[in-house]
Symmetry: C2
Subunit: 144 residues, 2 copies
């Protein structure tokens, strides 16, 4: 249980990815997706479904976290674009996808949820590893 939550909710039961940082209100996880090394999620710890289920100060706190993650990913990974999304149709527990997108990634310029356009570029992913290590180090030290 990672926050006041719903018993059947996987984001109440589990971290929801490789835990990078936990703060009292939210946590940051690295998504285990070999094709998307720069795919992270900011997960609100308490179980709320919608962004507007948060109070205004909480929304601000949540988006400051999202912005900090975006900023670190831009500075370290130098992506072609950042994608932000709070969907939650299948897991209605507020989580923000923060995805570093690259022109060589499998779906670019389509959303990552569309049909893949190409295979993962293993050489490009490998070349990104030092920057990803730097990103993870910086992200693990974000303050709330």
């Amino acid at each position: 249980m990672t926050g006041r939550g719903a018993v059947d909710c996987e984001l109440c039961r589990e971290d929801g990815g490789e835990l990078v940082l936990r703060t009292p209100a939210w946590r940051l996880v690295h998504v285990r997706d070999a094709a998307y090394p720069g795919f992270f999620r900011v997960i609100w710890n308490d179980h709320v479904a919608e962004f507007t289920d948060l109070q205004p100060a909480q929304r601000s706190q949540c988006m400051q976290a999202v912005a900090k993650v975006e900023q670190v990913l831009r500075e370290t990974l130098r992506p072609d674009k950042i994608n932000l999304a709070a969907l939650g149709n299948m897991v209605p527990h507020l989580h923000w996808h923060v995805v570093a997108r690259f022109a060589w990634d499998p779906h670019f310029p389509q959303p990552i949820w569309a049909a893949a356009q190409r295979a993962p570029d293993l050489a490009a992913i490998e070349a990104l590893q030092p920057a990803l290590t730097s990103a993870l180090q910086r992200l693990s030290h974000l303050s709330e």
Copy 2:
């Protein structure tokens, strides 16, 4: 030209949908998508690509707008979920998709960018029209 912008950017040249409300900093448009009557976009007027290209106060202003739109859609359309996304891979001018999702819509519970799972439910869409009229009326009177 709808803001200080890039000459070749369609969101600098055009409203980007059916204009519902324009404020000095952002505008709200209703997306012309027959299958998604509750699909809106909050578009930042000036040409910036990423959320973190905004100053912190602007980010707050932007997300307050997104939250107000979400709240009106929740209260009027009673969707099963709200989806929020800032992608911009193809049009890198900051815009937030705010989408009222329904269990009967073509892609639910998948993102709207995934493969469709069913045809639009024309009866459900028709039944939503009075609530949509109410939503549009309230959204056109949002204050910044």
